[in-house]
């Protein structure tokens, strides 16, 4: 029996996290996986990050906030469905507070706090953190068979993987206690603090201003007894990441910079024992034909053009093909290096550069065809389709 292709098994997971550097087609890949899974009868949510509205562009959606959009998938069985959601960081954060706050008053206290507003809007890792928060939310809701998460483009893999821990640390009991101490029981800021902490705290007061420290204390007070809730959720997100029904798919492009990021993700995932599912290399240029005599191969096709016109077309095709060959040659060593990571259990797909960027369902459909190999002729693909699918041979 032929063993199942890892990419087919991928669609049977509950969570797929697409990671990789920016500009390598991560969102399109996530959406194409979702499309194919819906066609196979699964209820799928593709979750992406707001700022550039990437998924909306790809799916032709124009929605805001945390609204789920249903994408019509031609040919999907009735039980299959594809939903798309663009993450609204602020709204997700607000939702989380609403859920965890013990009562109405506290809720308002937090949502109106100036520090909270800034943190939820532009906190260094808010986006990454809220992406994982929303992931938890939709996974636990049980409404979907599969959730595909398109991660924010981060320079550093750790930033994304560590995002859930950051807020948990932020609300670490010890730091909260430390900040609350000087303000407890209406004591004034200048109260005597003993030892190093006292000195440091006073210095912070000098540097950041007492007003800020007072605001920060109010902020922490507002969060009192919500810490367990945050910690529990953080731990739950980590459990989802580690679960064997989750898969991390590294998406990259055949250039050195993207390869570096992919390599780094691979190492990080392995080191953290997170389930690496494999690699998708997008935007691959292949020139199989070698040094072609363009005039000779095109001549039969150009017979009905006037000679002057034929010359223009020939010249353009000649230079385009030369350029394609140069690009393809440069990509070979990068592709070889990624191929070294391949194994029979891992997805390994090379996707040819598509004639136009994926911006609608037809484009996603073409991408899905390349990913899942049901390839009829794919008109307009830059390369010979057969070559775009070098499954590991040994």
């Amino acid at each position: 029996m032929i063993p199942p292709d890892p990419i087919d098994l991928l669609l049977e997971r509950r969570v797929i996290v697409c990671v990789g550097s920016g500009g390598v087609g991560k969102t399109s890949t996530a959406a194409a996986l979702g499309l194919e899974a819906a066609r196979r009868g699964r209820k799928v949510l593709v979750l992406t990050i707001d700022p550039a509205r990437r998924l909306a562009d790809a799916l032709g959606l124009r929605a805001t906030g945390n609204d789920v959009c249903r994408v019509a998938v031609p040919g999907a069985p009735s039980e299959g469905a594809l939903d798309a959601l663009m993450l609204d960081t602020r709204a997700t954060f607000d939702d989380l507070i609403r859920r965890l706050a013990p009562d109405e008053v506290r809720r308002a206290e937090i949502l109106d706090n100036p520090i909270y507003r800034l943190v939820s809007d532009s906190f260094g890792s808010s986006q990454e953190y809220m992406a994982t928060e929303k992931l938890y939310d939709v996974v636990v809701s049980g409404r979907y068979d599969l959730v595909v998460l398109d991660t924010p483009p981060v320079k550093n893999a750790l930033e994304f993987l560590d995002a859930p821990g950051r807020l948990a640390r932020f609300l670490d009991r010890r730091i909260v206690k430390w900040f609350l101490t000087p303000y407890d029981e209406n004591r004034v800021f200048g109260r005597v603090l003993v030892g190093t902490s006292g000195v440091v705290f006073r210095l912070l007061g000098v540097i950041f201003g007492r007003e800020f420290l007072a605001d920060l204390s109010r902020f922490f007070v507002a969060f009192r007894d919500m810490y367990d809730g945050f910690r529990d959720r953080h731990e739950a997100v980590v459990r989802i990441f580690e679960d064997r029904s989750t898969a991390f798919l590294v998406v990259c492009a055949p250039n050195e910079a993207s390869l570096d990021v992919a390599t780094f993700f691979r190492e990080e995932l392995l080191a953290r024992r997170l389930p690496l599912a494999g690699f998708v290399i997008n935007q691959v240029h292949v020139a199989d034909a070698g040094a072609v005599n363009v005039r000779e191969v095109l001549r039969p096709l150009l017979a009905d053009l006037r000679p002057a016109r034929a010359r223009v077309v020939l010249a353009r095709c000649e230079s385009a093909h030369a350029r394609l060959r140069a690009v393809a040659a440069r990509e070979v060593p990068v592709r070889d290096r990624i191929r070294r990571y391949a194994s029979p259990e891992l997805v390994h797909r090379e996707i040819p550069v598509l004639p136009e960027p994926v911006r609608d369902l037809a484009g996603l459909d073409e991408l899905a065809r390349h990913l899942f190999g049901e390839r009829e002729a794919c008109p307009g693909a830059i390369l010979v389709p057969g070559r775009s699918d070098p499954r590991p041979t040994a």
Partner: protein, 308 residues
């Protein structure tokens, strides 16, 4: 504001969607400014995987190192920037150490909105004292816009104190006409969308932040005669096998590239009030520095046209 000014800018931020060639543009602009006799430093911000080091074949560090005539490069890392900033406020080294070795302080800085960005920007500002021009290779657009917004946004949180004074200084710095942002872009639809969105965000900054130049990389200026594109498309539609197919698909790709370049230029002209310089698709030189050289030559040529 004439785009020519970017070479005269004191502080130049370069950003763009991932994969649009912003590091190439940043290095090309820095080299062009240095070639005109300025002392220039090119800065990566808190980069964990410094690209410039690999390209230039040198070890980059927090302290600028020479990378060519008139050009230094540096990787402004957060912790070093923090030490510098604290030293400026608390001149006693022992106390700076005391602050920095305290675990609570690290947590505190981790949670204090914008503190990371502020010390990074403060270091960039400090470099202006040593150089004629500072070019900053910012992270990809989303993060870059939030970084540039920090001084304005977090000012309300800090009514007094040295941090507030730093923030006020940065707000003034960002509003100066010789502080400018350059966007790198590609002619692809989604990249153009993000470029327009970024332009709108930055144009909405109060006080304003100058954004005089968009560099459209990997573009193909359309042949004014559209017929070759139609012909290639017709031939490619026949889906010939073998080498003919490959050649035609290559031709088709470039025909499409011409069309999306035209479309990108139309949309940018309509929605972005900045000069757009087209950098043609390069013949993909293997050496990144050779690519940078070509982009530099193209930018210098295009920017000279504007001033003429």
């Amino acid at each position: 504001m004439p785009a020519r000014d970017v070479l005269d800018a004191r502080l130049l931020f370069v950003t763009g969607k991932g994969g649009t060639g912003k590091t190439t543009v940043a290095l090309a602009l820095a080299r062009a400014a240095a070639a005109e006799g300025r002392r220039v430093v090119l800065v990566e911000v808190d980069s964990h995987r410094p690209t410039l080091a690999a390209w230039l074949g040198i070890e980059t560090a927090y302290t600028p190192v020479p990378a060519g005539p008139g050009l230094d490069v540096a990787n402004v890392t957060w912790l070093d920037a923090l030490v510098d900033w604290l030293t400026g406020i608390v001149p006693v080294q022992r106390i700076v150490r005391l602050i920095l070795t305290n675990r609570m302080v690290h947590l505190f800085l981790d949670v204090t909105p914008g503190s990371r960005e502020v010390v990074l920007l403060a270091r960039i500002e400090a470099l202006l004292h040593q150089y004629d021009q500072v070019v900053v290779d910012l992270p990809a657009t989303g993060h870059a816009v939030s970084l540039l917004r920090v001084p304005q946004q977090s000012a309300s949180l800090f009514p007094t104190g040295p941090l507030r004074r730093t923030l006020d200084g940065l707000v003034v710095l960002l509003a100066r006409p010789d502080t400018q942002v350059v966007l790198a872009a590609l002619p692809e639809e989604m990249v153009v969308n993000e470029t327009i969105e970024t332009w709108q965000k930055i144009a909405g900054f109060r006080p304003p932040l100058a954004l005089p130049l968009v560099v459209l990389n990997q573009a193909l200026s359309p042949d004014p005669d559209p017929r070759w594109r139609e012909q290639v498309r017709r031939l490619a539609a026949l889906q010939p096998e073998g080498p003919a197919g490959e050649v035609l698909r290559a031709g088709l790709w470039e025909a499409e590239r011409e069309e999306i370049t035209a479309e990108a230029l139309r949309r940018l002209a309509r929605e972005v009030r900045a000069r757009v310089v087209v950098v043609p698709l390069l013949d993909t030189l293997a050496d990144p520095l050779e690519r940078v050289g070509q982009v530099e030559a193209r930018l210098v040529e295009a920017l000279a046209e504007t001033s003429a």
